[in-house]
């Protein structure tokens, strides 16, 4: 029960997410080309590279690292992803406050706060075919697993599985937000790029934050 998310864990999560975005640039951009404007991969990659640079010199508690991440994304990504991912991390930072580390419940609460920030900024609802459709099931799965006494590792894995399922479920959806919504019926049959990057965010959290190796 000693699972905690400290500054080092946040760093490895964001580092891993930056790596995964970097190796999925083409996939994210291709998904966006089908129903958007073909820039999600390159924009998010530019932003996460900037985050890696900013975090390299930042030595602080989780809240400050998350805030730096949010501000950097807002300033470098552009499009809709910048404000959405930026607000996500800024709200996580607000929830983490100045704690030296977050226990599993506090991390879940921070993730939930991030999700609420995304909703406030983008006004998305379930089924709109957006990043919400991957993030919201992940938050729900994390909360439920922790409430039922699962270990943090198992809860994170459950969240990642739920995010992947949520991402896959966007394919048949009719887009109701963002540029994809201009296509109407033509948006059906394409996986949402925002839900795809959001599922990567949750998957990297599961890999980076799991206590597997540590006592």
């Amino acid at each position: 029960m000693s699972a905690v998310v400290d500054a080092g864990a946040i760093r490895s999560w964001l580092g891993l997410f930056a790596e995964e975005v970097g190796s999925h640039v083409d996939l994210l951009t291709q998904l966006d080309a089908a129903i958007g404007d073909a820039d999600h991969g390159t924009n998010l990659d530019r932003g996460m590279k900037a985050v890696s640079g900013a975090l390299a010199t930042a030595d602080a508690e989780p809240g400050v690292l998350l805030k730096t991440t949010g501000m950097t994304l807002v300033s470098t990504v552009g499009g809709a992803s910048g404000p959405l991912y930026g607000t996500f991390f800024l709200r996580m930072a607000g929830s983490a406050s100045d704690a030296d580390s977050l226990d599993p419940d506090a991390f879940a609460a921070a993730l939930r706060a991030g999700l609420e920030g995304v909703v406030a900024r983008g006004r998305a609802q379930a089924g709109d075919k957006t990043m919400f459709d991957a993030l919201a099931p992940a938050c729900d799965a994390l909360d439920e697993a922790l409430a039922s006494g699962a270990t943090f590792d198992d809860a994170l894995r459950a969240a990642s599985v739920a995010a992947d399922a949520g991402r896959d479920a966007t394919t048949p959806m009719l887009a109701r937000k963002g540029r994809a919504s201009y296509l109407g019926e033509r948006s059906v049959g394409h996986q949402d790029p925002g839900a795809t990057s959001a599922a990567l965010l949750v998957a990297t959290a599961a890999r980076a934050l799991s206590t597997g190796a540590s006592p």
Partner: protein
């Protein structure tokens, strides 16, 4: 795809160097990628800021100057500027009378302008343009895109601000232009984003996309290429179905090129549009023909109609001195 560029990543930065060199009466903030009119901020005048992704030139930087915008924030190609840029533009034009943000209705633009307005230390009012009739407007969608009418809003609100009107009055006239304007566009070809290097969508030689936006996104329907007279009808009919344009002081008819169509074709299209409007009993009081809100090298055009009244006529005719629109000054 051949382009007049050096490295794709440097297109915007190098184009801004050209804007600065060509137009000494403008001031360019290269760090924030903002084009200012040289004498901004003007004390006591409402500041007008617009911006958006690049690739739509002359929108918005070509409309910075007396009688139109005070600043334009330039995002990467087809990517909204970030809040820092919009905030720098807002601060740089704040002459104490507040700042109007003119925002095209795209999710990214709206969010980034919203975040900048929240950070600004002056009064900011945003007017969002959403004139594209190709997009179904309902409670469940993000609504229509802002396209051609944005040019007209910037001209008319710019004239209102120049004449000393208050922020709420300038915002009101901007909203009126948006409410009375409608647009529809078609593409003969896709466009090629410099960083991508290949066309955004495939469009066979004998097909056109009807109901396109300005970012190379596919349109509402794909139909066989037709004579200009029929293509004009495909653009004018949905506009007239959507809004009442007869009566009053007539309309402003705006035939806009998407970037890759020559002016001779735009005038030919204007002739067709004008003929259709005449048949529908609509009086054309003012016209604008040319490539003013573009989608890089896309071939095609859009039609925008604006219902005029005495006030809008006066403001449209007022002097303007920008690199792309210039009369009476």
């Amino acid at each position: 795809m051949k382009k007049l560029i050096n490295a794709p990543a440097d297109v915007l930065a190098e184009a801004l160097l050209g804007v600065e060199a060509a137009h000494p009466d403008l001031r360019v903030d290269h760090q924030n990628r903002v084009i200012f009119r040289g004498d901004a901020p003007r004390a006591g005048k409402v500041g007008l800021v617009s911006g958006g992704g690049s690739g739509h030139e002359p929108l918005h930087g070509g409309f910075v100057g007396p009688g139109m915008l005070d600043a334009a924030a330039c995002g990467e190609v087809f990517t909204s500027p970030v809040p820092d840029q919009i905030l720098a533009a807002t601060r740089g034009v704040d002459g104490g009378a507040g700042v109007l943000h003119i925002v095209k209705n795209y999710t990214g633009d709206v969010m980034n302008f919203e975040m900048a307005a929240e950070l600004a230390d002056t009064e900011v009012v945003a007017v969002v343009t959403d004139d594209d009739v190709a997009v179904q407007d309902s409670l469940y969608t993000v609504g229509r895109r802002g396209v051609g009418v944005t040019v007209l809003v910037e001209k008319i609100a710019g004239a209102a601000a120049e004449s000393g009107r208050s922020l709420s009055e300038v915002a009101d006239v901007a909203r009126k232009v948006n409410a009375q304007g409608r647009s529809m566009g078609l593409a003969l070809t896709s466009c090629t984003v410099p960083a991508a290097g290949s066309p955004t969508f495939d469009l066979p030689e004998d097909q056109i996309e009807v109901g396109i936006g300005i970012h190379g996104e596919p349109g509402r329907t794909r139909v066989p290429l037709a004579p200009a007279s029929e293509m004009a009808q495909m653009l004018v009919d949905p506009i007239l179905d959507d809004h009442e344009f007869t009566g009053g002081d007539g309309v402003l008819a705006f035939v806009n090129g998407m970037g890759g169509s020559p002016l001779i074709e735009l005038y030919l299209m204007y002739h067709e549009v004008n003929r259709l409007l005449g048949k529908a009993g609509i009086t054309v009081a003012r016209s604008l023909v040319g490539s003013y809100i573009t989608s890089l090298d896309m071939a095609g055009c859009s039609v925008t109609l604006l219902k005029l009244d005495d006030e809008l006529l006066r403001l449209w005719d007022a002097p303007v001195r920008t690199s792309a629109l210039r009369w009476g000054a």
